[in-house]
Subunit: 322 residues, 2 copies
Amino acid sequence: MKSILITGISGFVGGHFTRYLLNTKTGYDIHGVSRSEPTWDFIGDKETTLRSITFHKCDLLDAAKIHTVIQDIQPDYILHLASFSSVAQSWTAPLTSFLNNTNAFLNIVEAVRLQGFTTRILSVGSSEEYGIVPERDLPLIEKRAIVPENPYAVARVSEEYLAQVYVKGYNLDICCTRSFNHIGPGQSDTFVVSSIARQFAEIAIHHKKPVIKIGDGSIVRDFVDIDDVIRAYDTILTKGVSGEVYNVCSGKGHSILDIVQCLSGLTQTPVTVEQDTALIRPVDNPVLVGSYDKLHRATGWTPGNSLENSLEKMYGYWHNKL
Amino acid sequence: MKSILITGISGFVGGHFTRYLLNTKTGYDIHGVSRSEPTWDFIGDKETTLRSITFHKCDLLDAAKIHTVIQDIQPDYILHLASFSSVAQSWTAPLTSFLNNTNAFLNIVEAVRLQGFTTRILSVGSSEEYGIVPERDLPLIEKRAIVPENPYAVARVSEEYLAQVYVKGYNLDICCTRSFNHIGPGQSDTFVVSSIARQFAEIAIHHKKPVIKIGDGSIVRDFVDIDDVIRAYDTILTKGVSGEVYNVCSGKGHSILDIVQCLSGLTQTPVTVEQDTALIRPVDNPVLVGSYDKLHRATGWTPGNSLENSLEKMYGYWHNKL
């Protein structure tokens, strides 16, 4: 029996990963930690899922508590998903963002190091680590310089560097990702694509005016479907090389306006777009597109979902929920 | 009247900087914070120096307290010296090292940002940020990639990236240094050169066996005299360009064995060297030498003290103290 500890299990990625483990694997003792119990309104069989795992209510900034939890579980794997993952919110609360990313990670690796466990850990980073990127550097490969340009990105870069030091200096077993923008049902509408999908659902259900509010519509991101992300994390946990960093991405770029257009087509709803200056960030990347070549070569992973497919699931989620 | 806040004022660099300000400038309202009151056994006129400043007892991890201190002072300048600055100790206490570097810095810049002050801040970083360096990259220039290889270096890189984000995203006025190994009288003997100087003084005074214990004697560092460091920090505070990073170094490399030899010559004491494996670090740089060209071009600064000169002062300090 292998044991796995999923931090931030109550979140969007945590819920999808838990459901995936239960659906596709046997012989896993699944533990989750989070500050709050899972609600997971995006999982059909939520109650069954909850009964199949052990949930530990714990703030990852509580070093003593996380030490005890890890001592009790002695996990073979830790999937560290807990994070303060909004770039926009990191500008308004840079200190909270930093603590809840970097210090939370440090508490976990310290618990593993001090207890001498051989746990394989997956540290989830972000495409934001690459910073403002000229077009000639696209698609981004892992060897490119990282230049974090917002508080969230700095925290992610710090975590990645800490991971490298724990691998080389203390012989811990850690793989890292630079994950590009996830999208999928259940994602908070503080993230732009989920917000747009929600606005389309509101137009359909609440007969709102067909106006979509966005920040800068021209920014281009590499949106990767949550189901593809989950498979990538599972693959890296089992087949990744310790100390290595892997992009997790779709390899394709789409602008925010593309998202609006695609959802407009899918829902057959003509809309106008309104720019909300409050959603514009102090410093932002015009374009971020990744290459998943390294991950593919190491593990055979490829993304399986199209943008249309993801947006359809997200629209369906909000349509059901509202 | 200009006001300056020196964090970590009770330390080695803090004491030297305070004495320098009082000796060379007028019209400065000098404030210092530290967890403990200055002892400064390396300053001749310690009591006069203490009476000439305002001391605030404060842990920089106490965000609320540091906010109030900065609110009261409204400093024109902040020289942020407080740090957990030992690489060796960062390997045994990585969490403490990280918190006392990165989070302390964040509390300061947050206090300045949230109160809208136009304070010029100097963030002190380290040559350790460059990582393991091939000989062809020497002397190191600021444009070279940074690859932190120990917990202390990760914290310093994180602080530098945070500083850049606060400059670009919030318009704060921050200059950064990558300071190479300081040496001078009053430095703790947890640092290698001070430890060697102390051992030579012990041989002379306590008639100890002429054996010098060191870690890896072959490692080469760029040792820069404390008086030169102080002048560099003053110069950057007044003439540096916001957002820029400056090496503070001597431009010359010396091995640990060179230090032993030089002190052996200065004190006319033949010694043997004993390697203490406890002093060897998990991952270490064989050679680190910097270029101060950028700082020189920007401000005219050049180092003024030779290695012999520094070692003589350090030996004298330990000789008096023991």
